[in-house]
């Protein structure tokens, strides 16, 4: 990896907006996306013609959703690019938008994630590689197997893993944009088994929605009179993919360890410096795996720590204060953008009853089929 471009030319988040994540509905994707973009513009105080480029993250909408959606804000002729990177599509849209600002090409750039849970078509399935599964192993079983391996190694209980979902459902209950907004007891979370120790409420819902963030340079902050206290800075942005690991290696956790290490080095921080983490918790076990992988705690320590409330809002570090993928939901394209919106809200001190006290440093983390991993580290503006 070369030099971190975000170190030379600061990139700030100046506007955030969301359309609630929800179950599949007849609402057109254009309406979902425009709701989020208009909210982000209103939040930033910028006007649509101020936006010079847009990156549109979606995994399921098909070809060319960007211009038909964004033209309804007024067709200004701005640069529009479609971004698909599986579950990390939205995160990758943010990464490319940040690079666009850091490069000096644009001063105000939109990253928007929008998706509808329909028309699944996954390229690796038609890659001609073959396997011995014949459709018997789906994502929840992939993670159920990781859960059994992890629990066997560290003696972590099914209840400790389920505590991830209890926490994230409680956070989602306080998030008006979450698909699931209901507090759940440990007994509720442990009921309704799906695969291994993974139960229905320990698996994320895939629905629809939209999330938008507007990124801007120092020059734009000055030109438009944007309050720097409401403009957290993106310190680092790192994307990696799975390497050829030895057999039996937990792929997603190893990839996370490698990607977060680079992101921490670029940002000049240590994992334990973080106040807020939005993690790819599509399945409850992932939160424990990734917190350890990123070095926030040692191997096998995440289970006892979650039981002690270390990852609650108000704990050592608020993990998935939005509700995470488990409760806020995982509509694919929007998910990674929504993570950046939540961390921005937290770093501004505007998260209301989900606020992590004195939050100064935050991280967003997504993995996607491939596997790919995208990580951002953000810092609060001047207080």
């Amino acid at each position: 990896m070369g030099r971190n471009p975000l170190a030379d030319r600061p990139v700030h988040v100046v506007g955030i907006g969301l359309h609630r994540y929800q179950a599949a509905s007849p609402t057109p994707f254009v309406e979902l996306g425009l709701t989020a973009v208009r909210a982000a513009l209103a939040d930033s105080g910028l006007r649509w013609p101020d936006v010079e480029a847009a990156f549109v993250g979606s995994a399921l909408l098909g070809m060319a959703p960007g211009r038909v959606m964004l033209s309804r804000l007024g067709a200004t002729g701005l640069a529009i690019q479609q971004v698909e990177n599986a579950s990390a599509s939205g995160s990758t849209a943010v990464a490319l938008a940040a690079l666009e600002v850091a490069s000096g090409r644009s001063d105000v750039v939109l990253a928007v994630g929008v998706d509808k849970a329909e028309g699944w078509r996954v390229a690796p399935a038609s890659a001609g590689l073959g396997n011995y599964e014949a459709g018997s192993v789906v994502p929840f079983t992939h993670f159920a197997l990781l859960a059994e391996d992890y629990r066997h190694r560290y003696g972590t209980t099914a209840e400790q893993v389920a505590r991830v979902a209890v926490k994230n459902h409680a956070n989602g209950a306080r998030n008006p944009y979450a698909q699931r907004q209901k507090v759940r007891t440990l007994d509720e979370v442990l009921s309704d088994p799906i695969s291994g120790s993974m139960t229905r409420l320990q698996c994320c819902p895939v629905g629809e929605g939209a999330a938008a963030v507007i990124l801007a340079s120092d020059e734009a902050l000055a030109r438009f009179g944007i309050d720097p206290r409401r403009a957290p800075r993106i310190l680092s942005s790192v994307t990696r993919s799975e390497a050829a690991y030895p057999p039996g290696t937990p792929i997603d956790a190893t990839l996370t360890a490698q990607t977060t290490k680079l992101a921490f080095d670029d940002a000049g921080i240590a994992p334990t410096d973080l106040d807020v983490i939005e993690v790819h918790d599509a399945f409850s076990i992932e939160e424990l795996l990734y917190l350890e992988a990123m070095g926030f705690c040692g191997p096998g320590e995440a289970g006892p720590l979650i039981e002690q409330g270390a990852f609650d809002i108000g704990g050592r570090c608020a993990v998935s204060p939005s509700g995470g993928l488990l409760a806020m939901g995982h509509p694919l394209g929007p998910t990674g953008v929504g993570q950046v919106a939540e961390v921005t809200r937290q770093l501004r001190g505007e998260a209301g009853d989900r606020q992590q006290p004195a939050a100064r440093l935050g991280l967003t983390h997504m993995v996607g089929i491939g596997a790919v991993c995208v990580v951002h580290v953000l810092a609060a503006g001047p207080s």
Binding site: G128, L129, G130, N131, Y132, E133, A134, G135, S136, V137, V138, T141, A144, L145, L146, A147, E148, D149, H152, P193, I194, S195, G196, S197, M198, A244, P247, G248
Partner: protein, 124 residues
């Protein structure tokens, strides 16, 4: 033999520890099964550097999970998915044989391929 959620093999048809078709990279030694059709995932060697080999369908249980919900009628739920690290290298996912004895992490298993699926049971 305990009654256990099983897979798709009718009673009487038992795995025999068959060989699987595979490839080994002459450059880096990476073993793949099913055979690698494009190029070595570890070192990028071209297909003509990959030699056809037989891979023993025996190994150690790395993890397992009983699946209670499935989006298709086949396999019939509940069934048990096993992740096995083969003695010859690769890690694969397969199903525990129907009415097979339950397996634990670390157990040795042997398998065969039935209807495109690796079907495993405890090594005897």
């Amino acid at each position: 033999m305990s009654a256990t959620p099983g897979g798709i093999i009718p009673n009487g048809t038992r795995p025999v520890g068959t060989k699987l078709n595979g490839t080994r990279c002459r450059t880096c030694g990476r073993v793949a099964t099913p055979p690698e059709p494009y190029g070595c995932e570890q070192c990028g060697a071209l297909i003509d550097s990959l030699e056809a080999i037989e891979v023993a369908a025996t190994g150690v249980v790395h993890s397992s999970a009983v699946v209670h919900r499935h989006h298709r009628p086949d396999p019939v739920t509940p069934f048990t998915v096993i992740e096995v690290v083969l003695d010859d290298g690769p890690a694969l996912k397969g199903l525990l044989v129907a009415d097979g004895e339950a397996v634990a992490i670390g157990d040795r298993v042997q398998g065969t391929v039935q209807d495109g699926r690796l079907v495993l049971e405890k090594e005897r």
